[in-house]
Amino acid sequence: MAETMARLHPLAAVKTVADPHLVAQGPMGRFSLRLSPTAAPPPLGALGLSLPLAPCRAAQSETAAALWLGPGEWLLLTAPERAPAVEAALRAELAGQAFSLVEISHRQTGFSLSGPRAAQRLNAGCPLDLDLASFPVGMCTRTVFAKAEIVLWRTGAEQFHIEVWRSFVPYLWELLVIVGAETS
């Protein structure tokens, strides 16, 4: 009898403890979009938003988000079931200009970190200034957390979204849990 392959969450093999402020998110559709840094990108109807052009800023619609990672580089997030349709629509919308659109849904995993001590918890491994004045809501950037590279996006005053590559997931999770126990 044929067996069905099932995709495991990167935390499946890790003994996790319940943490009300740290939530590992399920599957998500992700794309890396590269355009010429000097070209004016069109509004992307497939995502329902315009790409953010200001450095380190994210744009969000009801169904998708676009995070500025570098000049001409964005991380696009959408619901997993919409990913194939979004990819086809984006390719149609960007036709005629030089672009690179790569699906990276399974390369990384998302975490949400919240609570009054969220910034303090992140600062245990991330040297950025996470004060609301210098890292406001809607700011996103690639940075480091201890030895792992992460994408950090502030979605609320006390709410962060973290993207990390698959193989770093247990490392990041365990560090954040330890730091959470020490700061609570």
Partner: protein, 97 residues
Amino acid sequence: MLLITCPFCGPRPELEFGYAGEAHVVRAQDPRDVSDSQWTEYLYQRSNVRGVHAERWRHAHGCAQFFNALRDTTTDHFVATYRIGESRPDAAVEAGR
């Protein structure tokens, strides 16, 4: 921690950056046109400045872009950072550090 001002992202911790050697080292358009000694100089000779040094850096764990910086090699103070393609800031900037 030492902060380095990325021309795209603003002041960021040193951990996010990588050093990429001396800036403004010009490669010959056609290496066949230059003599062996000129080519050797391009490949191997660096100014090794004591004082303000123009060098390339990369915001590797950030926007991933290369940029140029003026850094005082005796104090590790970053005098200025500027984008690739821009010319080296003039002496007034260096004097006003």
